[in-house]
């Protein structure tokens, strides 16, 4: 089994750099948010001072001072360094490195669960190591960071710090840097141990097939070909005499793959555009594919050879510049098993190739998704890829650290912990939340769904329009609006999961790492600035 499941119509996007307009969108969003923030601050000050003019004056002044402090932040680098060192030292002296021994405990038991199939082994081990790291490091970081600033305020140690020429932003940034320093250290140690463990646990067959980081070239949507309804897609299906976005639906619950019928003119077309020079010095290029087969008849299961029957597939490579078939191959496809076709490199000389798949066995179907067929451009080391995977965990911790630091500027320690965990957990249900507020997830708002739960009402019929239900629906509308706001503020943490790449033996694209880094930085900067304004304008003494 080769291909990784990528549930998008255009997997090659994972490998493309972010669009140039991204920073502008970001700036625009931040500006809009700033306007809201300013209005909120103005309102609060007005309520406090009872004078609109004075409130305006104060808020503008605070804004101005704040902006100057943000711009001149680099001038305080030695102070930031001192504060970072302090946090680092605090963590060390509080013996947080001992959690590392906690980290080792689960490794004693992992062997009990190890699947005995080689395909599952590495996937399980990687999930396990990643899980052990995340599940220890993330709560640890949330606890440590959340308690830090509130403890300083509660124990008044902050007095001796803020009465020095320290900008408040420096206190926040220094803290973040210091904690990130210690987390990086712990992450690296854990990652190292995890990698050694992975190597030791996975057996020879695993290391032969999975211990790698494939660099695939996925199909991309062509400019000159569209489906019958004008869609440009990397994979199109030829059915009923025209190109379509979907093939035949064989009624599987998971509609990831679309099927083509055997012994008909139905076919699947992938379009590849790439730089052909990368294959110049190669004899042949492996094309890996993982198709699903769907059988409508079993045939005689006792006939000789029936144990490995499968379904026959014809693969044709067409040079789109000349229109000629440059290579073809017929082979047998089996369920949940991958195939490799070694194609002579000269077939890819034009860098513009269409791959056509047809099912040859009558009454049987072949199923495919865009990411199911790719050219194997390169293979990199598993170890490097594992490190890249750690970067993602690091980014996640950075995000949570910043959220916790910001929250701790206005919340008490334990409330900060709860708050940050809430952000973390909701972050994983981001898609679900969006689904609820956009109505894609059935069941309605919180009140409606609890009514349905208790009255065992199904999700499809409308609620009985009685008085209480109407009130509940009305309240729900309000709650849903709140949720909508929340859903768009909470970071989508499911984006920050690259363990799948490592486990499937696929190289984590640099473009994806860059996107993730931009996502986290783009999220974290406004959050920390918000925290800074709160921290700057709060009294630290009671």
């Amino acid at each position: 089994m080769f291909a990784m499941v990528i549930e998008t119509t255009n997997p090659s996007l994972l490998y493309s750099m972010p669009h140039w307009s991204l920073p502008f969108w970001w700036i625009g969003t931040v500006l809009i948010l700033s306007v809201f923030g300013f209005a909120g601050a103005l309102l609060l000050t007005w309520l406090k001072t009872h004078s609109a003019a004075r409130a305006f004056q104060l808020t503008v002044k605070a804004l101005f001072e704040g902006l100057i402090e943000i711009v001149t932040l680099p001038a305080g680098c030695s102070r930031i360094f001192a504060l970072a060192k302090l946090s680092f030292r605090e963590a060390i002296r509080r013996r947080i490195l001992y959690v590392f021994f906690l980290f080792l405990i689960p490794f004693l038991f992992a062997g009990w669960y190890l699947p005995n199939s080689p395909e599952g082994q590495l996937r399980f081990l990687v999930a396990f190591v990643n899980g052990a790291i995340s599940w220890l490091l993330i709560p640890l970081s949330v606890f440590l960071v959340s308690m830090s600033l509130p403890t300083d305020i509660q124990q008044h140690t902050i007095y001796t710090v803020v009465t020095k020429p320290v900008r408040r932003l420096e206190i926040l940034v220094g803290r973040i840097l210091g904690f990130m320093g210690i987390f990086t250290l712990v992450l690296l140690i854990m990652g190292g141990v995890g990698l050694i463990y992975l190597r030791g646990q996975s057996d020879a067959t695993v290391r032969q097939s999975q211990w790698t980081a494939r660099v695939p070239i996925y199909a991309t949507a062509p400019e000159d070909v569209t489906t019958a309804n004008e869609l440009k897609l990397p994979l199109m299906f030829y059915k009923k005499g025209q190109l379509q976005a979907q093939g035949t639906n064989v009624g599987k619950e998971w509609a990831y793959r679309s099927h083509i019928e055997g012994a008909t003119s139905d076919s699947a077309h992938w379009f590849f555009q790439f730089d052909p020079s990368q294959f110049q010095n190669r004899e042949e290029v492996p094309v890996e594919l993982t198709f699903d087969i769907f059988k409508t008849t079993k045939g005689d299961p006792t006939r000789p050879g029936a144990e490995e029957s499968g379904v026959w597939c014809l693969l044709r490579f067409v040079d789109r510049k000349t229109g000629e078939t440059v290579f073809d191959r017929t082979f047998r496809v089996n369920n949940n098993r991958g195939n490799v076709v070694y194609v002579p490199a000269k077939a890819f000389a034009s860098g513009n190739v269409e791959v056509i798949a047809q099912c040859l066995t009558r009454n049987q179907f072949l199923g495919m998704a865009p990411a199911d067929l790719y050219l194997l451009a390169d293979e990199r080391t598993f170890e490097g890829n594992f490190l890249k995977g750690l970067v993602t965990i690091w980014l996640k911790i950075l995000l949570l650290t910043c959220v916790a630091v910001t929250a701790s500027t206005f919340l008490k320690g334990f409330v900060t912990i709860l708050f940050t965990f809430m952000v973390y957990i909701l972050g994983f249900f981001h898609d679900f939340m969006i689904g609820i507020v956009t109505g894609q997830v059935r069941g309605g708002g919180p009140l409606e769904s609890s009514i349905r739960l208790f009255t065992q009402n199904n999700q499809v019929t409308d609620l009985d329009p009685n008085f209480f239900n109407r009130i509940a629906l009305g309240v729900d509308m309000l709650l849903l609006e709140l949720m909508r706001a929340l859903a768009y503020i909470i970071p989508n943490l499911t984006l920050l999961d690259t363990a799948e790449f490592v486990a499937s033996g696929f190289d984590i694209p640099w473009a994806l790492l860059l996107r993730n880094a931009l996502f986290v930085i783009g999220y974290v900067v406004p959050v920390v600035i918000f925290g800074y304004f709160v921290f700057k304008n709060r009294e630290l003494a009671a």
Partner: protein
Amino acid sequence: MNSSRQRKIAYLLAIVVLFTGIIGVGQWIQWSADKNGLAQKSLGKVNPISGTAQLVFMGMRGVAVTFLWHEAIELKKHERWFEIRPVLESITLLQPNFVNPWTFQAWNMAYNICAEWESVPDKYHWIREGIDFMKNAVETNKDKTDMEWYVGWLYHNRFGMSDEKTFLRDMFRNETDDNFALAQSGIKDNFQVAYDWFGQANDTIRRLQEPPKSKGIMPFMTYPALAKSYYADLMQQEGTFGEKTKNAWRAGHNEWLEFGREGGPDKDEDLKLRLEYSPEEWNKLTDTQRYWVDRYRGVVNYNSWKKRTATESTDEMQEAREAFYNAEKDRKEGNYKKAIAEYEKAFPLWRQVMERDANMREDLTTIEDSQKYERNYLRLLRLLDQKLPATRPFEGLFKPAEETPIAPATDLKRDEPKPIEPKPAAERAEAKSKDAAKKE
């Protein structure tokens, strides 16, 4: 100052009272669990990890299990077969003594996931995963007859009765793991291993004197006999004949007789019936009891199996079977003349057996097989332009469907004896104490 001291004393008292209360309740729970056989140690092997996992989740066990079930369903939906097993292990670690998680998921692997695979080695792998999973269940749970039976069922049904059974059984015979494939009889065969497990389940039932939960006691207890019979049947289908097969059939026959003589345990004396009685014993039975014996025989198809196992082990039958097997084989390989000779050798033997045994004559599979052989033989003759016999080989042997008398609806009711009315518990206890008094 004073009030704070009072408060502290009050807290202390409350702590002491609650603590003693909790200890008391805990003791009581422990005691009643022991009494009802629910205490962990009386349920089977205690897994240290399971204990730890349960401790970690404490009151959240239900939540964690719900989450894991959801995860398992999602994994199956997304066809991520390899990741399911660890999730299932986690579920059963948290709920080691529930029957359904084990059976449901074993079935899931051995049937549903197995069906998602195309090649036989893959299918074999998943059946094995399901069986291993179920074996863990038996190890963790003591005296769960249904679980023991289920292990046997997976060996019996998945390897021996699926479409790919020829290949699967072949792989099974070549299995290197004796723990998995070697039966107590020393034979590497799925039915033999299944027989061991069914037997174990029956032993447990007899020891505990408790009926199984998943099905009626009679059908449940026939499985050792069924496994032995199918073993012999499959030997024939795979082309082994002669003394070995005859012995297998005899073993099956004995198994049925033994089961018939022993019957199943039932707490109710009136229902403690067997299927096999000597004529004197039979005469002593009341009408009601005879009705139930008859009914049970019907449910498990006792008479038919008993007769078939006896018939199959005869020399004529073996010869006929072997000749038909060879004939079919030769026909498929194109040795038509040889095939015709084999058919002609088999027909009289077969007819002889059939004429002797009315039970075989009414068996639908036998009828189907006979018609198939007859048809194939006649086709070969036509193909080779040979003269067709004046009468078909089995002419007049089997009753055509329209000749079978259809009993009028009223007839069915006429002889039906009254089933035993369930007596109220009190009355029953009274009767029993009377019996006891009589004995003294």
